[in-house]
Each structure stands twice: as structure tokens, then as C-alpha cells.
């Protein structure tokens, strides 16, 4: 019976403790900003923060996040004004937009531990997040912009 905090709110779950965090937030809590892309941890669309660190929520069973603090895209900033979100809008990153919540959570996690990532560090951090529309040039630019202050 794991209890955990999601976007600042405490939750207890009585169902299958092996359910991945992704499906708990989407199907049980109706937090649909986190996306299902591959179910195998290889596309990054479902990226959320657990205790501030980016994880693929499709690969994290609820038992592993018991007692921890989870942040989804809905909880990143109350007004949607996190520096990464602002940079994303300034650079007009999205095309279809489906992968962008995961991209933004990944970039926010990178910048939280490295204020001035090099281009190589940005590439390394972001390479697990696929964008099939091909927004990479702008994602790279937006991460740089967010690092420098929007």
C-alpha cells in the first residue's frame, strides 16, 4: 500500500503495487500531461521527476516511489513559468507537442543539477527523449536559453 506525494499532494494507492507510475498518474489520478510513448523506457515521453530527478515513469513501479515526492508536468510550476517552459515558448519548440512534457521535464532536471551545461552535456541529457516531428534544433536552443536565463 504505497503512499507517495504527487505535485505536493499525498496519495495512497490500494491497487497493484507493481503498476508503473505512468499509469497511476494517468489512469487513476487523471493527470494526463504525462504521456505514454513506448512503455519501454526508450522514448522519454513519460518523463517525470522523482525527488527532483528525471525518471521514465513507465518503468517505475509504485513500490519504488513509496515515500517519495513525484512532480509531473502539471506540477513543475504553478503558472507554467518555469524557465524551461518559458524558453520552450520563446523558441517555439513544439510541432505536434506530444513529447514536449517529457522533454521539458528532462531539461528541467538537467538544469537543476547543472546550471551551465555544455552542448555535449545537453545532448547527453536529452538523447533519451525522442521527438518524431524533429524539434531537436529548437530543443537544444531552448535548453541553452533556459540555462542562460530567459
Amino acid at each position: 500500500m504505497p503512499s507517495l506525494t504527487i505535485n505536493g499532494e499525498a496519495h495512497e494507492f490500494n491497487g497493484d503495487p507493481n503498476m508503473p507510475l505512468l499509469w497511476y498518474v494517468r489512469d487513476m489520478l487523471n493527470l494526463t500531461g504525462t504521456k505514454f510513448g513506448c512503455g519501454a523506457g526508450v522514448c522519454g515521453a513519460c518523463t517525470v521527476h522523482v525527488d527532483g530527478v528525471a525518471v521514465r515513469s513507465c518503468q517505475v513501479p509504485l513500490t519504488e516511489v513509496a515515500g517519495k515526492s513525484v512532480t509531473t508536468i502539471e506540477g513543475l510550476s504553478p503558472e507554467g513559468d518555469h524557465e524551461v517552459q518559458k524558453a520552450w515558448r520563446k523558441v517555439n519548440v513544439p510541432q505536434c507537442g506530444f513529447c514536449q512534457a517529457g522533454q521539458i521535464m528532462q531539461a528541467a532536471s538537467l538544469l537543476a543539477k547543472n546550471r551551465a551545461p555544455s552542448d555535449a552535456e545537453i545532448v547527453e541529457a536529452m538523447s533519451g527523449n525522442i521527438c518524431r516531428c524533429g524539434c531537436y534544433q529548437r530543443i537544444h536552443e531552448a535548453v541553452r536559453l533556459a540555462a542562460g536565463g530567459v
Partner: protein, 786 residues
Amino acid sequence: MLQYLKAEADRGRTPVIDAEISNVSRRGLLTGILGVGAFVLSVRLSLVDAKEAHKPYPTGGLKMPDGVVADPHVFIAIAPNGDVSIVTHRSEMGTGIRTSLPMVVADEMCADWSRVHLVQAPGDEPRYGNQDTDGSRSMRHFIQPMRQCGAAMRQMLETAAAAKWNVDPAMCQARNHEVVLLDNEKKETGKVLPFGELAQAAMALPVPAVETILYKSPDEFTLMGKGEVQIADLHNITVGKAGYGADVRLPGMKFAVMARPAVLGGRIKSYDASAALKVPGVHSVQEIAGVFAVPRKFAQLGGIAVVADSTYAAMQGRDALTIEWEDGPNVSYNSDSFTKEMSETAAKPGKVLRNQGDPDAAFAASKDIVTAEYHSQHLVQAPMEPLVAIARIADGKAEIWSCVQSPYGARKDIAEALKMPIENVTVHVSLLGGGFGRKSKWDFMLEAALLSQKLDGAPVLLQWTREDDIQHSFYHTTSVERIDVALDDKGKVTGWRHRTVAPSIVSTFKQDDGYQFPIEYGMGFVDVPFDVPNVRCENGQAMAHTRIGWFRSVSNVQRAFAVQSAVAEVAHKIGRDPKDFLLELIGPDRHIDPKASGFPDDFWNYGEPYEEFPINTARLKNVVRVAAEKAGWGKTLPAREGMGIAAHRSFASYVASVVHVKIDDDGTIRVPHVTSAIDCGFHVNPERIRSQMEGAAVMGMSNALYSGITFKNGAVQQSNYFDYNVTRMSNYPQKVDVHIIEAPWGVHAGGVGEPGVPPFAPALANAIFAASGKRLRNLPMGEKLA
């Protein structure tokens, strides 16, 4: 707005909004740009009639099912507070069309973009005109109707103001969300009426006759051509509130996944669901019958659905199913042997589709012949959002929510499958997390509708997993393209013979005979625009053993790869610069004459009337010159670096790309720079054209280096992004410079979503050759040079 909607519903018309899905525009303007009004307010618009500013021309849109609609009452509603709702009837899958078409309306009607709300239309083509968002034709077919709607509504607002002021309508002038009263010298009197105050009266007016509608002249556009408007969903996307296919939540909704046959045509012999039903959270297991009669079109494959409290429980239940399948004859499909067969077919004469001059004589008399064969594997669209649909049936009425490119086509088939009159079926359109052609086939929506029916109408969300998506698509075809080029003793090209062998999309729509249809052979094959006296294009037979469908750019992908690689191969053979040789091969400025060039009688020009959208060699050469010049073509590069160029016309637009390649010591192929030029005629949203071209380079690189679907014993061998590889940030085109050719209204708007993809792979292959001397002819080429 809601009052208006209620009124619409009372009049028996389809309400144009669904509060659960539609998003209000966030009305962003690009940073650093002033609001729209400031610099246009004091200037009287010099409106002109259609003959001058908006010369109408026929497009293929008129021949699409349900054609086009240009009725402002259908597309525009103004609320008493002045908010303007504009219906956007095409599907948004990343091109920006949901924003770009309403921009056209808002600009012509002088609406303030910050007060525009978008309303996504449900599938209803008799009301909105064709909604099949495919073929890069949304702007091509709807720029004129949208200008007409906006201009008509502007005139209605001015007429309403004239009635209030009791003056001649000529004294009333709309500008920036209000109508101003002019004096006899056409100067502003200072009296104004905001749109909101005129809304009720204006919307009650009849639509002005087409010939009386006046249009803005292009120098008065405030939104069109400026690139200053952000996509309507930008803010919602960045905060996780944009609504995609799986994001609707209905009371009591269940979640489901399905097991489907691995081999096309496979049937269930027997199954045991007892273990699945023991999985916690699983409610029931339902058999969904497949359609096996040919043609299958977009019918469901059939299989076993597991219905549960959560998507996770449904997936666990599916894993616990035991199903014995009867594979059927397609179990013989193996990509390795099939490619060999296609290659053998391409070595022999095929069905002649184009014949110009006397190619046999040209080859017989040639001094030299360059022969090359180009192979490509199947591709799967693999949009980031897997297929998903939500269905609910209540009181004899079905409602479907989905990420679909063609909501009305889906609605018709769903009504038939459910045996319901079409009026009782509603298809709501969410945002699409990518489409690339897959979401114009609605098998997944039929599954959801049939499943809800089995559940006595209970609301159910049917989710495809990534494995389902990779293994049960309508695949981009696999192909062999063989090109023979005859050269005389001076190195001049005297003959061009191209053979194409590929399973056809036709197999999805009728009994397969192994031959391609006009839409496929019109894509960069029979329409090759070269100044060569003797040309023959032949099609060899290849039967389909899986579902074949369209994928972004369709046959242009393999055609541009073959043709533009072959041009560079010939240039190398005769010691010419590839760019100069390409320009020379295209030849003098002209409109290609299809008849004189031996094109087939059923030549397909992207559905457009040829006289209006001819193959214009001057435009093709221009993009080649612009891309080459901007890329610094001809400059000396370090060892293991090289540039390649390719140009291709598709979807009535012209694109050339120069790819700069750098090969790492370990053989990894990297692309530091791409320079593209696009001539898509008159254009509305240059900012989104750039993003489409940037994305086309990324998808072009996926197609060129990484992605391939292969079959073994009838089943797809790949299953997820770890074995169906796509471009990632670890190796992507680092910088894509896009040059958009300026064009007046008279150069008809062409496509944008697809034309950027075809030139990339050949330009990359040509660059690899320039950097390494190695010629790669098979797609995917692989990330590392051997």
C-alpha cells in the same frame, strides 16, 4: 460563445464545440513584435476586388469528397463581448494548420488575433468541406475559402455598422476588431463600433455575393506572411494541458488493449482467457471480429480485447492470454527473399507508364551506360502518440474521441460498422501527437467503437501500445528502383530508363494485381523533369503481403532517393560538378508538357489541375541555386567531410537541400549543417514552414540512416524504438537553415508538410560519397560507414 452554440444546436445544426476537448487559443505573438494594430490603424484599407488581389483559381479541393466550404456562418462566430470563434476543421498533427488557416480568416476580417478562439470541428464534411488532413493540401485547398470567409464577415460587420449609423456602407471600414466611420473624404470621424456590438446584427445578415466581396491587398496583411503568430496550443503544450487522443476522461470509462494477429489475414483458432480474467483490475475479455474479405480498406484486423480498470491492468491481462492463430498465406512473406525477387523483376522490362522518344535506340547507340539499383525497406510512421480512441454508445448514439487525420471518413465507416445512421455518430478530434499518414487510417477507431458496442455502450479507451503500432501499421512500401542512364561519346545523357518495383497502396483498396496506381507513379517517377530526349518509366509487378499505406511524402521518399542519387552518380562518371550537372539535366526554363513528354494519360499531379500547378523547371532550378549558394557550395572542406545536393518537386512545391556530412573516425555519419530552399508559392506562416523543414531533415535522417521494417514468416521483426531506430539528439542535423522563396498570390500555395523530406536522403547519400568515395544505395544506410 456558448449561447451561440446553443442557438446552433436549437437550429438542428451540429454544435461546433466540445468543451471537453477544445482549447481556447493562448493568443501568443512572437516576442519582440508589437501587437497587430499599432501600425495599421490609421491607414484606410485599399480593398480591391477578386480580379486584382485574390484572383480565384481552381484547385483539386473542388474534387475532394465534399469539396470546400466558404460560408462565414459555418466558420466564424462573434460573441457580444467581441470574442471571435473560428472553426478549424483540419486535424493538427504538428504542421500548425490549426493555427494557420484561422490566421487567414482573422487577417481578412480584421480581427485582433488576441481575441480569437479556436474551435476544433468534429467530423462533418457536408458542413465544413473536406477534412482529410493528408497530402499536404490543407493550405493548398483552403486558403481561398478561408480568405473568402474572412472578407465576407468583414463586409457583414461593415454593413451592420452602416445600418446602425444609417450611412452608406462605403463609409464604414473595419480595422483591428472594430468598424470606423469615415467622412466624405474617407478620413476617420472618430466614431467607432467594436465588433462585439455589431456581432448579432452582422451574423444575422446574408453572406454577400461572391462577386461583391472585396479583399485586402497583400501589403495590408497583418498576419499572413509575417510569421509572428505562435501556435494556438503552445502554452497548453508546455504545461501539459493540451488534449491528445488519450486525454479525455469520461465517467465510468474503462481501459482496453487488444491482441492482434502477427500475420496479415491471421485468424483466431482458439484462445484461453482464464488467466487474463484473474489479473486484478481486468473486467472482461472480448473478441473483436476482423474483416478478411479483400479489400480490407481500413477495417479492423480483429483479435482479443482485454478491458480493465487501467491501461496497465489491461496490458497485464493481454500478456496472460493464450491465443492460437491460423496465420494464413501471408506467412510466406520474408523481406530478404522478397527484395531479391523485386531486384530480379527490376532487371526485366515492366509495364510501360511513360515513353518519350526512342529509349531502345538511345541505349543501343550509347557510348556508356550507368546502371544503379536503389533499395528501401518498409517504414512505419511511428508518431510519438500511439494510436488511441475512446468510444461511448448511449441512447442509440455513438460518440468517438480520437486523434484522427480524417474524422469524417472514420465517422462514415464507424456508422456502417455499428449499423447506425451517420447522424447518430459523432467523431470528436483531439490534437494528434504526430500522424505522418498513420492516423488517416481509422482501424483503431473501429476497434474502439465495436468494443464499446460489445460492452453495451460503456465508455472505453482503446490504447495501442508502441509494439502494436510498430507491428500492425499500414506500412510505407518496400521498393527496388533501378535506373539506367545512356551517355553518348560527349558524355551527354541521351536516354533515361527507370523501373520501379514495389507493393502498392492499391492493395488496401482493391484486389491487388501487383502494379502501382497513378498516385504512386505520379510521385517523382513518370514526372521526372529532365531535359532528356528519350525517357522510359516502367513498373514491375510486386504483390503486397502486409497492409501498405501512406507515410509522409509517400513514394517520393524512394523516388527522390533513386533519381537524385543517380544524377550524382552520372555526374561523377563524366567528371562534372553534381550541382551544375543537375541544373543542366533539368534544362531550360519551361513548363513540362506532359503529353509531349510521354506522360501517361492518367498522370496524377497531386490532384491539382495541371494548368494551374504545372511542373515549372525554373522554380526547381531556382531552389537548387539558392540552396547551393547559401550553403557555400564548392568551398573546400576538410578530409572526411563533404556536401551533397538534391532537389525534388512534390505536393506542388519545390525543395532543394544541401547536406554537409562529417564522418567520424569510427565511421559515424554526422550532419553538422543542412541548407534547404523551399518554393511553396504564396505562403501564410513562414515560421511554421521553417519548423516543418527542420523536422523534415530529422525525419529524412531517420529514413536515410536508421529506420527499417522487415518481415520474417509474415510478421514484423521490429517492436519498439529500440529496434526501429529513429533520429535522436545524439546524432541529428545540427543546424538546418531554411530559405523560403518569396512568391506573390499568383503563384499558388503549394504543400509544406511533406515536400521537405524527399531531398534529404539523396543529398545525404551524395554528401557521404563526396566525403568518403562510398556510394550507399540501400535505405536505411546505417549510422556508421563500414
